[in-house]
Point group: C2
Chain length 98, copies 2
């Protein structure tokens, strides 16, 4: 299995409605990018200070499947429409779990 993990801290343009829209858009990507095998995302639970605001863990069978997802037009359109200009900080790792 190959995982893509990304976290965001939102900037001050982001309200609860935008976070809900992000979540809905992410769920929509699963329907149009069959390379996504699992895609579990959500807001920080608020237990620990200094955390980022939102996390996504995506799972793929192979690195190549991840790259198809990364470069997929629907994914790129999501980034352009819902992430670009909305993020104060971003942190990402892709890793093999095998």
């Amino acid at each position: 299995m190959f995982r893509h993990v990304v976290m965001f801290s939102w900037n001050d343009t982001v309200d609860a409605a935008h976070v809900a829209a992000v979540a809905a858009q992410l769920d929509g990507l699963v329907a149009v990018i069959p390379e996504i095998k699992a895609y579990l995302h959500g807001p920080d639970a608020g237990l620990n200070p200094g955390n980022f605001d939102y996390v996504l863990v995506g799972e793929f069978d192979t690195v190549d499947d991840y790259l198809v997802y990364r470069d997929h037009p629907a994914h790129q359109a999501f980034i352009a429409g819902f992430i670009a200009g909305r993020v104060a900080s971003r942190a990402a790792v892709q890793y093999s779990t095998a």
Copy 2:
């Protein structure tokens, strides 16, 4: 399910041997903290610029199980011995996947 996700960027004291020791220590925690249900970690695959260096995704049945893990002496000893003083940046989120 409740997930703890954390990423590190190492500072310049960290070499490959230390990363291998971190990985081994993390695998060791699974044996002594039964609240950990899954614990998949590893180094960044090097596909994308600007990524962090290492990621851990831990899974727990409940928030309370995560808190037992967070505060467990074996986990705290790992942080003190292998993470403290070794990290340039840290990013974390805990989230419910239910």
